[in-house]
């Protein structure tokens, strides 16, 4: 009997592999958190100036995030865009979470800490398009996104006010905005964030930003941009699942140097989003912006936005927008479009900063 049992066990062992205990596969246990977020856009209507394709997977964002070692974490976000070959690194950085002196340091490819919109990955935005001030004054959809180092620190402040100062140094190359032609063309960026709870349901954040880099005119010509942002949030805790309001405004002031002189351009957007019920949100946004190189040209836009969240992991959004593009001597061009956006995420994408 014993021999038969042993033989049977040996046979089973031979069939199922070496007799090892059930352990998690050591190779996988340190795998990063993996997430993928798809952003699908359908657009209909008329836009002669800045048309989007009728249907597109606007972006798929692949996120890989993990702890590097006891000192740091690593975050990588790759974006795959509409056109074939359109692969980019949105952000890829190491974060040292608590250096001596309570500095938090990030290094890598980063979104610049300029205002609020510039820091948001596309899928976090409360609308499906890019507001005019970002398009005109910060270089386009991606805004300030560059290689650099970022240092931030909490500043002691009274009465429970949160105050954080961030200082960044970038290479100085950001699509359509800055282009470093030599190693000395680095771009400093400063941001001060102040936040306070007005009550348990309401809070206010105010920020100031400033950056300066060599612009597309070449070495010796700089663009500096100053930004102010304010965000008011209301979310009554007991009804928080069903009701909330966000009001945000950002103002950008751009000074662009060129052989012809310095162009002072201004742009802003104001957004309000109201939560109608557990899964429905209604929003309105107004944009206005000069052109960075010719402040006499002034674009205006308005959007109505309706968003439905089937679950926390997907969104369906409809945005009706009307933009009046200023073409100067050629007059204006009015665009009226309906954008349908579907966003869906798989995997373990964590929460973003507030």
């Amino acid at each position: 009997m014993k021999i038969r049992t042993a033989a049977l066990a040996a046979l089973l062992g031979a069939v199922s592999g070496p007799a090892v205990a059930q352990t998690p596969q050591a190779g996988n246990v340190f795998n990063p958190k993996i997430s993928v977020i798809g952003d699908f856009l359908g657009v209909t209507g008329h836009n002669a100036v800045d048309p989007m394709p009728s249907l597109a997977l606007h972006e798929a964002e692949l996120g890989l995030q993990a702890v590097v070692d006891p000192y740091a974490r690593g975050d990588f976000f790759f974006t795959f865009g509409t056109e074939s070959g359109d692969v980019g690194v949105e952000e890829a950085y190491i974060t040292f979470l608590n250096l001596p002196g309570e500095f938090l340091l990030k290094a890598g490819k980063l979104k610049g800490a300029f205002g609020k919109l510039n820091t948001e990955h596309l899928h976090v935005r409360l609308f499906a398009d890019t507001p005019l001030p970002m398009r005109n004054l910060l270089g386009g959809e991606d805004g300030i996104e560059d290689y650099g180092i970022s240092v931030s620190r909490l500043i002691p402040a009274p009465a429970g006010i949160f105050l954080e100062a961030t200082a960044q140094l970038f290479r100085g190359t950001s699509e359509n905005l800055f282009e470093a032609t030599s190693r000395s063309d680095v771009e400093p960026l400063f941001h001060l964030k102040g936040y306070g709870d007005l009550s348990e349901s309401t809070n206010l954040e105010i920020g100031g930003s400033w950056t300066r880099g060599t612009n597309l005119q070449g070495s010796g010509f700089h663009t500096s941009v100053t930004g102010v942002d304010a965000t008011l949030r209301w979310k009554p805790l007991r009804r928080g699942l069903y009701r909330s309001l966000l009001v945000r405004a950002e103002l950008y002031l751009s000074d662009q140097e060129s052989p012809a002189g310095t162009a002072h351009a201004t742009g802003f957007y104001a957004l309000a989003q109201y939560q109608l019920s557990r899964r429905w949100f209604a929003g309105y946004r107004h944009d206005e912006s000069d052109h960075a190189d010719d402040p006499s040209l002034h674009d205006r836009g308005d959007s109505l936005i309706l968003t439905f969240w089937p679950s926390e992991f997907s969104q369906i959004r409809a945005q009706a927008r009307r933009i009046v593009y200023d073409l100067g001597a050629a007059g204006t061009s009015t665009a009226a479009e309906l954008i349908l956006q579907l966003q869906f995420s798989i995997g373990a994408h964590g929460a973003h900063t507030f």
Binding site: P70, R73, T95, L97, N98, G101, E102, F103, L104, V151, R153, L154, I155, P156, G160, F162, E164, A165, A167, P188, F190, L192, K193, Y195, G196, D197, E200, N203, E205, W210, R212, S224, R233, K235, L237, R238, R239, G240, L241, Y242, R278, R279, S311, E312, F313, G350, A351, H352, T353, F354
Partner: protein, 307 residues
Amino acid sequence: MKKNLGLAAAVCLALAAPSPAHAARKLRIVTTLSDFASLAETVGGDRVEATSLAKGYQDPHFVEPKPSFILKLHDADLLIVAGLELEIGYLPPLLDQARNNAIRPTGKGYLDASAGCEILDKPAGPVSRAMGDVHPYGNPHYWLDPENGRIIARAVAAKLSALDPDGKAVYEKNLAAFEARLTEAEARWSKAFAPFRGAKIVTYHSSWPNFAKYFGLDVVGFLEPKPGIPPTPQHKLEIINLMLEKKVPVVLMEVYFDRKDPDFVASKTGAKVVMIPPSVGGVPEAKDYISLFDVDVGAIVRALGGS
């Protein structure tokens, strides 16, 4: 140019300012849930001050990661969390910005309250989001079992003694007093529930399995068709039929849900809607861990026909 230098200098000065001092006579405890803060205060007495990020009347899954919480975490000596991914939606970015190594999961000032507790609803097979907003490590509402509360209190006492050895005797004395009061309270709750053991209930969200198991209630269905999905018309009909078939007398819901659907279902079945706080502070009367159960047990027993 001068303006830029001035601004740069101001920012440098601001960055160089000294950071707030950590030294505090009392141990500063931050918890995610108000129940843990209550237990921490009970065990810690006046050697500690405890505050929770979530209020007892808000849904603990959906807490906003406000920067004011970063300040609290920055100054904390101990962080107590529920674990089981209850806080996954908001805590990680707060911890990443808190500049406080001690309260990170690997630090000495971190306590996962689920360790040692009885955890229910651990998924048996593969897990996917087709199941809704499922908790892959088990149901995180485990603090609603008084015996888990006892285990959490003991863990808190041990942790406080490790962080503050001088206070060990005080913590053990407070723990013993709490355990005695808990035992006495458990006897009175058992007595109140005795006529109703086995009573069938429907709950809004699957957040009462530990409570139901301890008090002998039978949860036969949920108003949410899947966790995190609000009640659909079809599902409400199914629940109404289930409640009529099984003669379910009570629909149990938390104070942070909307009563419209529970009231509708109750009106079609003759059941009573019981809206109770799941956490300390959820209503003013639930001012600590034991009185939370006094409120909840009382409300359910009254609805079932007791007094």
